[in-house]
Symmetry: C2
Subunit: 274 residues, 2 copies
């Protein structure tokens, strides 16, 4: 479950309610990982209030601020038993630095593969799920060569780069900057209070915004020839706009989104840091 | 010459310099039409200063605030002799209401066809050039059914809807809202301080931003089935990003932009209001 940040936590809580439903309901064990945040206690207090209001009976805060803490046997055992694991916002670089290749990361994969746990990330937690993570950078008025930096993410999602707060922060040019130089990757921009749910070979969009899929595989661009900081020409960029409520049950039926579905469903959680 | 608004008038004046060059240089007669503006004298003062600084010797203000004023023989004669005609910003509905179908409009066409005059419009002046004019409306976070209203424009540009202040005001969703229901039209979003120049069977982008061409002709959308105010699903929207300096000399060489070039060059100034 890939969430674009700023999901409602006080009113309808639609995205969080959906997360709990995907985790099997309010009686199931839920983990909240705040490693991305520099104010983990504040973030935890907010989610604790929200999940308790939803009726969740068993929610545990995992506050990690070093790799050593993420390599704890007891913690890994607990996380592997969870049915819902939620990574909060903050800084995706921080999240990946502390979790990548640790017992905690492996426990998340076990929870997913063995228990069918729902792995969710919002904002930084969403970006951090990618193999090729949009780490930082901005491109306000046009895509720019070199405007963004990629980093190695947790690898829960492969061949797709996620960006979040997408429409609210006008990030199409930032995402285009990233994939213009890696056009074999697809881009997915997730709006605030919106979730892209990957399940059972298909996808669904929930919440109050849209998911924008950006495909440059057929594009013609001069980005290889322009200087850093310059806006490249880009022809034949393809956009697919999926508002909340959109659902595609399998790659077979997905037309121009077949590869997007295929990448998300076939390879999810594949790129483990061994 | 289709300008996205806020072209520089005090420093390098690149777009205005280009306009004067296309009009044949500083000795040629230039007309500034402020009909779109409710403060025509202020707007004229700004352009007068800018054009005088460039060295223009013969620039005339045409201030029109009624159709009767635009149906004046003497004025039409003067405008038909011009080599450069510049329509300022303001409100495109105002511009079209006062000019459409008048002697002044016909004189502009004569100046173009008989003298090779450069017809320029910035901001509202750019929008107003279209046959199908984006009159008003907004769509901030996603395209929305019914978010924008089209109006009948001056018809200097056909089969292409122009939007302006494009990247600065984040208007991709607004332009998509317009063409989603009229996918036989192409969209062109012009950034501030940027000009799309149509000349000699080709196009060129000048200034400091980009031109974004939006093509929904191959798109699949459910817009016909959703309610007003709802974000439609849109698959296979094609974008073409042309930064300043881009030039395409003919439709034959334009690949995915062939029709865009063809529409602009073959039909320019065709849809006269008789």
């Amino acid at each position: 479950m890939i969430i674009g940040g700023a999901e409602d936590r006080t009113d309808d809580k639609e995205v969080l309610q959906k997360f709990i439903a995907l985790a099997g309901g309010v009686a199931q064990p839920i983990i909240v990982i705040t490693a991305a945040s520099k104010v983990p206690e504040d973030v935890w207090a907010m989610y604790e209030t929200a999940f308790v209001a939803i009726g969740v009976e068993n929610v545990t805060h995992v506050s990690i601020s070093s790799r050593a803490e993420a390599d704890d046997d007891m913690l890994a055992h607990k996380v592997a038993q969870a049915r819902g694991i939620f990574m909060t916002g903050g800084d995706q670089k921080r999240l990946v630095t502390f979790l990548g290749g640790t017992q905690l990361e492996r426990a998340m994969r076990r929870a997913y593969s063995d228990n069918g746990a729902c792995i969710a990330g919002t904002s930084a937690g969403a970006s951090g799920m990618c193999t090729h993570m949009l780490a930082e950078g901005r491109a306000d008025l046009a895509p720019e060569k070199g405007a963004v930096r990629l980093g190695a993410g947790l690898g829960f999602v492969s061949r797709v780069i996620i960006d979040q707060h997408f429409s609210q922060r006008h990030r199409l040019n930032r995402l285009l900057s990233a994939i213009a130089q890696s056009p074999f990757l697809l881009g997915a921009g997730i709006d605030e209070d919106t979730a892209l749910i990957v399940q059972d070979g298909g996808i669904e969009v929930a919440g109050h915004g849209s998911v924008t899929v950006v495909d440059c595989r057929q594009s013609q661009t001069n980005i290889a020839d322009v200087a850093a900081g310059v806006a490249p020409q880009m022809l034949d960029v393809r956009l697919h706009l999926l508002p909340s409520g959109s659902g595609i049950s399998s790659a077979d039926d997905a037309g121009p989104l077949a590869d997007f579905i295929h990448y998300l469903t076939d390879r999810t959680l594949e790129h483990e840091h061994r």
